[in-house]
Subunit: 208 residues, 2 copies
Amino acid sequence: MSSVGRPGSRGQRTGRPYDHSSDGLILASTLDLLAGRGYEKVTLDEVSLLTGRAKSTLYRRWATKEELVLAAVRSVGRPPEVDLLPDLGSLREDLLAVIDSPWLGSPNRRLAIFAGLASATRSSERLAAVVRTEVTEPYVEVYRRLLHRATDRGEISANFVTSIPVLAEVIPAMSTHRLNTSHEPVHRDFFVSVIDNILLAALHPTGD
Amino acid sequence: MSSVGRPGSRGQRTGRPYDHSSDGLILASTLDLLAGRGYEKVTLDEVSLLTGRAKSTLYRRWATKEELVLAAVRSVGRPPEVDLLPDLGSLREDLLAVIDSPWLGSPNRRLAIFAGLASATRSSERLAAVVRTEVTEPYVEVYRRLLHRATDRGEISANFVTSIPVLAEVIPAMSTHRLNTSHEPVHRDFFVSVIDNILLAALHPTGD
Protein backbone atom coordinates (compact mmCIF):
# COMPACT_ATOMS: atom_id res chain seq x y z
CA MET A 1 0.00 0.00 0.00
CA SER A 2 2.92 2.28 -0.71
CA SER A 3 1.04 5.19 -2.30
CA VAL A 4 -1.98 5.26 0.00
CA GLY A 5 -2.07 8.08 2.52
CA ARG A 6 1.30 9.39 1.42
CA PRO A 7 1.61 12.99 2.63
CA GLY A 8 2.52 15.92 0.44
CA SER A 9 0.90 14.67 -2.77
CA ARG A 10 -0.69 16.95 -5.34
CA GLY A 11 -4.08 16.96 -3.62
CA GLN A 12 -2.83 19.61 -1.24
CA ARG A 13 -2.12 22.31 -3.82
CA THR A 14 -5.57 23.86 -3.45
CA GLY A 15 -4.90 24.73 0.18
CA ARG A 16 -7.47 22.43 1.74
CA PRO A 17 -5.87 19.14 2.78
CA TYR A 18 -6.97 16.24 0.60
CA ASP A 19 -8.85 13.55 2.51
CA HIS A 20 -6.94 10.32 1.89
CA SER A 21 -9.40 8.10 3.74
CA SER A 22 -11.19 7.12 0.51
CA ASP A 23 -8.04 6.22 -1.42
CA GLY A 24 -8.16 2.53 -0.56
CA LEU A 25 -11.80 2.22 -1.65
CA ILE A 26 -11.16 4.16 -4.87
CA LEU A 27 -8.10 2.13 -5.84
CA ALA A 28 -9.81 -1.20 -5.05
CA SER A 29 -12.83 -0.12 -7.14
CA THR A 30 -10.47 0.83 -9.97
CA LEU A 31 -9.04 -2.69 -9.89
CA ASP A 32 -12.56 -4.17 -9.89
CA LEU A 33 -13.43 -2.15 -13.00
CA LEU A 34 -10.16 -3.14 -14.64
CA ALA A 35 -10.88 -6.79 -13.85
CA GLY A 36 -14.42 -6.62 -15.17
CA ARG A 37 -13.99 -4.56 -18.30
CA GLY A 38 -10.34 -4.04 -19.21
CA TYR A 39 -8.40 -0.79 -19.31
CA GLU A 40 -10.18 0.73 -22.31
CA LYS A 41 -13.50 0.63 -20.51
CA VAL A 42 -12.31 2.04 -17.17
CA THR A 43 -13.53 5.64 -16.79
CA LEU A 44 -13.37 8.12 -13.94
CA ASP A 45 -17.17 8.41 -14.28
CA GLU A 46 -17.56 4.73 -13.45
CA VAL A 47 -15.13 4.91 -10.55
CA SER A 48 -17.06 7.91 -9.25
CA LEU A 49 -20.36 6.03 -9.53
CA LEU A 50 -18.97 2.92 -7.89
CA THR A 51 -17.41 4.73 -4.94
CA GLY A 52 -19.89 7.56 -4.44
CA ARG A 53 -17.02 10.05 -4.62
CA ALA A 54 -17.29 13.18 -6.77
CA LYS A 55 -15.43 13.11 -10.07
CA SER A 56 -13.76 16.38 -9.10
CA THR A 57 -12.36 14.66 -6.01
CA LEU A 58 -10.89 11.90 -8.15
CA TYR A 59 -9.40 14.37 -10.65
CA ARG A 60 -7.92 16.39 -7.83
CA ARG A 61 -5.86 13.39 -6.79
CA TRP A 62 -5.30 11.57 -10.11
CA ALA A 63 -5.21 13.78 -13.17
CA THR A 64 -5.79 10.98 -15.68
CA LYS A 65 -7.04 7.42 -15.91
CA GLU A 66 -3.45 6.33 -16.43
CA GLU A 67 -2.44 7.95 -13.11
CA LEU A 68 -5.35 6.32 -11.31
CA VAL A 69 -4.56 2.84 -12.62
CA LEU A 70 -0.84 3.34 -11.92
CA ALA A 71 -1.75 4.21 -8.32
CA ALA A 72 -4.05 1.17 -8.12
CA VAL A 73 -1.26 -1.15 -9.32
CA ARG A 74 1.25 0.37 -6.90
CA SER A 75 -1.25 0.11 -4.05
CA VAL A 76 -1.37 -3.68 -4.20
CA GLY A 77 2.37 -4.13 -3.79
CA ARG A 78 4.26 -7.15 -5.03
CA PRO A 79 3.12 -10.78 -4.88
CA PRO A 80 3.32 -11.80 -1.19
CA GLU A 81 5.11 -15.02 -2.20
CA VAL A 82 8.22 -12.87 -2.73
CA ASP A 83 8.40 -12.42 1.04
CA LEU A 84 6.95 -15.76 2.07
CA LEU A 85 7.86 -18.52 -0.35
CA PRO A 86 5.36 -21.41 -0.25
CA ASP A 87 6.91 -24.49 1.36
CA LEU A 88 4.60 -27.48 0.94
CA GLY A 89 7.23 -30.17 0.48
CA SER A 90 7.20 -30.65 -3.29
CA LEU A 91 7.91 -28.41 -6.24
CA ARG A 92 4.52 -29.13 -7.78
CA GLU A 93 2.65 -28.20 -4.60
CA ASP A 94 4.73 -25.06 -4.20
CA LEU A 95 4.11 -23.95 -7.80
CA LEU A 96 0.37 -24.60 -7.44
CA ALA A 97 0.34 -22.61 -4.19
CA VAL A 98 1.53 -19.55 -6.15
CA ILE A 99 -1.26 -20.07 -8.71
CA ASP A 100 -3.86 -20.66 -5.96
CA SER A 101 -2.65 -17.77 -3.81
CA PRO A 102 -5.38 -15.68 -2.18
CA TRP A 103 -3.46 -12.52 -3.17
CA LEU A 104 -5.81 -9.77 -4.39
CA GLY A 105 -8.82 -11.44 -2.86
CA SER A 106 -8.99 -14.77 -4.68
CA PRO A 107 -7.36 -16.52 -7.65
CA ASN A 108 -10.33 -15.56 -9.85
CA ARG A 109 -10.24 -11.87 -8.95
CA ARG A 110 -6.44 -11.82 -9.30
CA LEU A 111 -6.47 -13.49 -12.74
CA ALA A 112 -9.21 -11.11 -13.89
CA ILE A 113 -7.14 -8.14 -12.68
CA PHE A 114 -4.11 -9.51 -14.53
CA ALA A 115 -6.19 -9.71 -17.72
CA GLY A 116 -7.19 -6.06 -17.19
CA LEU A 117 -3.57 -5.11 -16.57
CA ALA A 118 -2.52 -6.85 -19.80
CA SER A 119 -4.96 -4.61 -21.69
CA ALA A 120 -3.52 -1.62 -19.82
CA THR A 121 0.08 -2.49 -20.73
CA ARG A 122 -0.95 -2.43 -24.40
CA SER A 123 -2.15 1.17 -23.98
CA SER A 124 0.44 2.71 -21.71
CA GLU A 125 4.20 2.22 -21.72
CA ARG A 126 4.35 3.60 -18.15
CA LEU A 127 1.82 1.05 -16.95
CA ALA A 128 3.69 -1.68 -18.82
CA ALA A 129 6.89 -0.72 -16.97
CA VAL A 130 5.19 -0.79 -13.57
CA VAL A 131 3.49 -4.14 -14.23
CA ARG A 132 6.85 -5.51 -15.34
CA THR A 133 8.75 -4.41 -12.22
CA GLU A 134 5.93 -4.91 -9.67
CA VAL A 135 4.29 -8.09 -10.97
CA THR A 136 6.14 -9.96 -13.74
CA GLU A 137 9.71 -9.72 -12.46
CA PRO A 138 8.77 -10.57 -8.85
CA TYR A 139 6.97 -13.69 -10.13
CA VAL A 140 10.04 -14.74 -12.15
CA GLU A 141 12.04 -14.31 -8.93
CA VAL A 142 9.55 -16.44 -6.95
CA TYR A 143 9.73 -19.25 -9.53
CA ARG A 144 13.53 -19.00 -9.68
CA ARG A 145 13.77 -19.43 -5.93
CA LEU A 146 11.27 -22.32 -5.87
CA LEU A 147 13.30 -24.13 -8.54
CA HIS A 148 16.57 -23.54 -6.69
CA ARG A 149 15.07 -24.79 -3.45
CA ALA A 150 13.81 -27.95 -5.16
CA THR A 151 17.37 -28.50 -6.37
CA ASP A 152 18.78 -27.86 -2.91
CA ARG A 153 16.53 -30.46 -1.33
CA GLY A 154 17.45 -33.01 -4.01
CA GLU A 155 14.04 -33.13 -5.66
CA ILE A 156 15.63 -31.98 -8.94
CA SER A 157 18.97 -33.12 -10.30
CA ALA A 158 21.78 -30.58 -9.97
CA ASN A 159 22.28 -31.01 -13.73
CA PHE A 160 19.32 -28.71 -14.23
CA VAL A 161 20.72 -25.73 -12.32
CA THR A 162 21.78 -24.03 -15.54
CA SER A 163 18.23 -24.34 -16.88
CA ILE A 164 16.67 -22.54 -13.92
CA PRO A 165 16.93 -18.93 -15.22
CA VAL A 166 15.08 -19.75 -18.43
CA LEU A 167 12.58 -22.11 -16.74
CA ALA A 168 11.73 -19.42 -14.18
CA GLU A 169 10.42 -17.24 -17.00
CA VAL A 170 8.09 -19.88 -18.44
CA ILE A 171 4.94 -19.34 -16.32
CA PRO A 172 4.95 -15.51 -16.58
CA ALA A 173 5.82 -15.68 -20.31
CA MET A 174 3.10 -18.22 -21.12
CA SER A 175 0.56 -16.31 -19.05
CA THR A 176 1.30 -13.02 -20.84
CA HIS A 177 1.27 -14.75 -24.22
CA ARG A 178 -2.11 -16.27 -23.48
CA LEU A 179 -3.53 -12.92 -22.26
CA ASN A 180 -2.31 -11.15 -25.40
CA THR A 181 -3.77 -13.84 -27.63
CA SER A 182 -7.17 -14.38 -26.07
CA HIS A 183 -7.81 -11.16 -24.11
CA GLU A 184 -9.58 -13.31 -21.51
CA PRO A 185 -8.43 -14.19 -17.99
CA VAL A 186 -6.09 -17.19 -17.97
CA HIS A 187 -7.68 -20.17 -16.24
CA ARG A 188 -6.12 -22.37 -13.59
CA ASP A 189 -6.14 -25.33 -16.02
CA PHE A 190 -3.71 -23.51 -18.28
CA PHE A 191 -1.26 -22.93 -15.42
CA VAL A 192 -1.55 -26.57 -14.35
CA SER A 193 -0.78 -27.62 -17.92
CA VAL A 194 2.25 -25.32 -18.06
CA ILE A 195 3.49 -26.67 -14.71
CA ASP A 196 2.95 -30.34 -15.59
CA ASN A 197 3.62 -30.44 -19.35
CA ILE A 198 6.49 -27.98 -19.45
CA LEU A 199 8.23 -27.31 -16.13
CA LEU A 200 7.91 -30.68 -14.40
CA ALA A 201 8.26 -32.55 -17.72
CA ALA A 202 11.55 -30.72 -18.34
CA LEU A 203 12.85 -31.26 -14.80
CA HIS A 204 11.31 -34.67 -14.02
CA PRO A 205 11.64 -34.26 -10.25
CA THR A 206 11.88 -37.34 -8.06
CA GLY A 207 8.59 -38.47 -6.57
CA ASP A 208 6.55 -37.75 -9.72
CA MET B 1 3.76 -8.72 -50.48
CA SER B 2 0.00 -8.43 -50.21
CA SER B 3 -0.28 -4.63 -49.95
CA VAL B 4 2.40 -3.65 -52.46
CA GLY B 5 1.13 -2.42 -55.79
CA ARG B 6 -2.48 -2.97 -54.82
CA PRO B 7 -4.68 -0.89 -57.13
CA GLY B 8 -7.38 1.46 -55.97
CA SER B 9 -5.74 2.69 -52.78
CA ARG B 10 -6.08 6.20 -51.41
CA GLY B 11 -3.18 7.56 -53.46
CA GLN B 12 -5.50 7.98 -56.40
CA ARG B 13 -7.86 10.48 -54.84
CA THR B 14 -5.91 13.49 -56.25
CA GLY B 15 -6.58 12.36 -59.79
CA ARG B 16 -3.00 11.61 -60.80
CA PRO B 17 -2.29 7.87 -60.42
CA TYR B 18 0.05 7.11 -57.52
CA ASP B 19 3.34 5.57 -58.61
CA HIS B 20 3.63 2.28 -56.69
CA SER B 21 7.11 1.44 -57.95
CA SER B 22 8.76 2.86 -54.80
CA ASP B 23 6.51 1.03 -52.35
CA GLY B 24 8.86 -1.92 -51.89
CA LEU B 25 11.83 0.35 -51.17
CA ILE B 26 9.84 2.52 -48.76
CA LEU B 27 8.43 -0.43 -46.81
CA ALA B 28 11.84 -2.17 -46.61
CA SER B 29 13.41 1.09 -45.37
CA THR B 30 10.64 1.40 -42.79
CA LEU B 31 11.52 -2.07 -41.51
CA ASP B 32 15.23 -1.10 -41.39
CA LEU B 33 14.41 1.96 -39.28
CA LEU B 34 12.14 -0.11 -37.05
CA ALA B 35 14.95 -2.65 -36.61
CA GLY B 36 17.55 -0.03 -35.84
CA ARG B 37 15.64 2.32 -33.59
CA GLY B 38 12.31 0.89 -32.50
CA TYR B 39 8.85 2.20 -33.29
CA GLU B 40 9.04 5.38 -31.22
CA LYS B 41 11.98 6.64 -33.26
CA VAL B 42 10.57 5.84 -36.72
CA THR B 43 9.50 9.07 -38.45
CA LEU B 44 8.25 9.83 -41.94
CA ASP B 45 11.12 12.38 -42.15
CA GLU B 46 13.68 9.59 -41.72
CA VAL B 47 11.93 7.33 -44.20
CA SER B 48 11.89 10.22 -46.67
CA LEU B 49 15.63 10.86 -46.15
CA LEU B 50 16.50 7.17 -46.43
CA THR B 51 14.53 6.58 -49.63
CA GLY B 52 14.93 9.95 -51.36
CA ARG B 53 11.15 10.17 -51.72
CA ALA B 54 9.31 13.38 -50.80
CA LYS B 55 7.47 13.37 -47.49
CA SER B 56 4.34 14.50 -49.33
CA THR B 57 4.58 11.36 -51.47
CA LEU B 58 4.73 9.20 -48.35
CA TYR B 59 1.83 11.00 -46.70
CA ARG B 60 -0.23 10.66 -49.87
CA ARG B 61 -0.02 6.89 -49.56
CA TRP B 62 0.20 6.36 -45.77
CA ALA B 63 -1.49 8.99 -43.67
CA THR B 64 0.30 8.13 -40.42
CA LYS B 65 3.36 6.31 -39.13
CA GLU B 66 1.04 3.58 -37.86
CA GLU B 67 -0.34 3.08 -41.39
CA LEU B 68 3.16 2.94 -42.84
CA VAL B 69 4.39 0.37 -40.33
CA LEU B 70 1.19 -1.67 -40.74
CA ALA B 71 1.83 -1.74 -44.49
CA ALA B 72 5.47 -2.72 -43.90
CA VAL B 73 4.43 -5.63 -41.67
CA ARG B 74 1.80 -6.81 -44.15
CA SER B 75 4.30 -6.54 -47.02
CA VAL B 76 6.58 -9.21 -45.58
CA GLY B 77 3.88 -11.84 -45.39
CA ARG B 78 3.95 -14.75 -42.97
CA PRO B 79 7.00 -16.82 -42.00
CA PRO B 80 7.86 -18.96 -45.07
CA GLU B 81 8.17 -22.03 -42.80
CA VAL B 82 4.36 -22.05 -42.70
CA ASP B 83 4.38 -23.13 -46.36
CA LEU B 84 7.60 -25.11 -46.33
CA LEU B 85 8.19 -26.86 -43.02
CA PRO B 86 11.91 -27.56 -42.41
CA ASP B 87 12.62 -31.30 -42.66
CA LEU B 88 16.18 -32.01 -41.52
CA GLY B 89 15.56 -35.37 -39.86
CA SER B 90 15.44 -34.42 -36.19
CA LEU B 91 13.22 -32.16 -34.12
CA ARG B 92 16.20 -30.19 -32.82
CA GLU B 93 17.54 -29.50 -36.33
CA ASP B 94 14.07 -28.54 -37.54
CA LEU B 95 13.52 -26.12 -34.64
CA LEU B 96 16.95 -24.55 -35.18
CA ALA B 97 16.21 -24.18 -38.89
CA VAL B 98 13.25 -21.94 -37.99
CA ILE B 99 15.50 -19.82 -35.75
CA ASP B 100 18.25 -19.68 -38.41
CA SER B 101 15.85 -19.00 -41.27
CA PRO B 102 17.02 -16.41 -43.82
CA TRP B 103 13.53 -14.87 -43.77
CA LEU B 104 13.67 -11.05 -43.83
CA GLY B 105 17.26 -11.07 -45.04
CA SER B 106 19.11 -12.80 -42.20
CA PRO B 107 18.47 -14.02 -38.66
CA ASN B 108 20.06 -10.83 -37.26
CA ARG B 109 17.94 -8.48 -39.35
CA ARG B 110 14.82 -10.52 -38.62
CA LEU B 111 15.41 -10.56 -34.86
CA ALA B 112 16.11 -6.80 -34.90
CA ILE B 113 12.86 -6.22 -36.82
CA PHE B 114 10.99 -8.37 -34.27
CA ALA B 115 12.42 -6.20 -31.47
CA GLY B 116 11.17 -3.11 -33.34
CA LEU B 117 7.78 -4.73 -33.82
CA ALA B 118 7.58 -5.50 -30.09
CA SER B 119 8.02 -1.79 -29.37
CA ALA B 120 5.33 -1.07 -31.99
CA THR B 121 2.85 -3.49 -30.42
CA ARG B 122 3.21 -1.58 -27.15
CA SER B 123 2.14 1.63 -28.90
CA SER B 124 -0.60 0.47 -31.25
CA GLU B 125 -3.34 -2.06 -30.63
CA ARG B 126 -3.86 -2.35 -34.41
CA LEU B 127 -0.20 -3.18 -34.96
CA ALA B 128 -0.32 -5.63 -32.06
CA ALA B 129 -3.25 -7.42 -33.73
CA VAL B 130 -1.46 -7.65 -37.08
CA VAL B 131 1.79 -8.90 -35.51
CA ARG B 132 -0.26 -11.48 -33.62
CA THR B 133 -2.06 -12.85 -36.68
CA GLU B 134 0.78 -12.47 -39.22
CA VAL B 135 3.80 -13.42 -37.11
CA THR B 136 3.09 -14.90 -33.67
CA GLU B 137 0.21 -17.24 -34.53
CA PRO B 138 1.88 -18.58 -37.72
CA TYR B 139 4.99 -19.39 -35.67
CA VAL B 140 2.90 -21.25 -33.07
CA GLU B 141 1.40 -23.20 -35.97
CA VAL B 142 4.88 -24.02 -37.37
CA TYR B 143 6.07 -25.31 -33.98
CA ARG B 144 2.85 -27.26 -33.49
CA ARG B 145 3.32 -29.02 -36.82
CA LEU B 146 7.01 -29.73 -36.17
CA LEU B 147 6.13 -31.31 -32.83
CA HIS B 148 3.37 -33.42 -34.36
CA ARG B 149 5.67 -34.60 -37.15
CA ALA B 150 8.33 -35.60 -34.59
CA THR B 151 5.62 -37.65 -32.85
CA ASP B 152 4.51 -39.20 -36.15
CA ARG B 153 8.02 -40.37 -36.97
CA GLY B 154 8.44 -41.85 -33.49
CA GLU B 155 11.07 -39.37 -32.32
CA ILE B 156 8.76 -38.32 -29.49
CA SER B 157 6.57 -40.64 -27.44
CA ALA B 158 2.88 -40.51 -28.31
CA ASN B 159 2.29 -39.84 -24.60
CA PHE B 160 3.28 -36.24 -25.25
CA VAL B 161 0.65 -35.51 -27.90
CA THR B 162 -1.56 -33.77 -25.35
CA SER B 163 1.34 -31.47 -24.41
CA ILE B 164 1.89 -30.25 -27.97
CA PRO B 165 -0.57 -27.30 -27.97
CA VAL B 166 1.02 -25.73 -24.90
CA LEU B 167 4.60 -26.60 -25.96
CA ALA B 168 4.04 -25.01 -29.37
CA GLU B 169 3.49 -21.66 -27.64
CA VAL B 170 6.74 -21.77 -25.66
CA ILE B 171 9.21 -20.26 -28.18
CA PRO B 172 6.95 -17.35 -29.24
CA ALA B 173 5.92 -16.70 -25.62
CA MET B 174 9.49 -16.71 -24.31
CA SER B 175 10.68 -14.53 -27.18
CA THR B 176 7.96 -11.93 -26.57
CA HIS B 177 8.60 -12.03 -22.83
CA ARG B 178 12.30 -11.43 -23.38
CA LEU B 179 11.64 -8.56 -25.83
CA ASN B 180 9.26 -6.89 -23.38
CA THR B 181 11.74 -7.26 -20.53
CA SER B 182 14.99 -6.23 -22.21
CA HIS B 183 13.84 -4.14 -25.20
CA GLU B 184 16.82 -5.59 -27.11
CA PRO B 185 16.79 -8.13 -29.94
CA VAL B 186 16.67 -11.70 -28.65
CA HIS B 187 19.89 -13.58 -29.43
CA ARG B 188 20.20 -17.02 -30.97
CA ASP B 189 21.66 -18.36 -27.68
CA PHE B 190 18.39 -17.64 -25.94
CA PHE B 191 16.40 -19.63 -28.50
CA VAL B 192 18.86 -22.51 -28.28
CA SER B 193 18.45 -22.50 -24.51
CA VAL B 194 14.65 -22.52 -24.82
CA ILE B 195 14.83 -25.39 -27.32
CA ASP B 196 17.29 -27.49 -25.31
CA ASN B 197 16.38 -26.65 -21.71
CA ILE B 198 12.62 -26.46 -22.13
CA LEU B 199 11.20 -28.12 -25.24
CA LEU B 200 13.61 -31.02 -25.72
CA ALA B 201 14.04 -31.46 -21.97
CA ALA B 202 10.25 -31.80 -21.63
CA LEU B 203 9.91 -34.19 -24.59
CA HIS B 204 13.23 -36.08 -24.32
CA PRO B 205 13.15 -37.26 -27.94
CA THR B 206 14.98 -40.44 -28.90
CA GLY B 207 18.47 -39.86 -30.24
CA ASP B 208 19.31 -37.06 -27.80
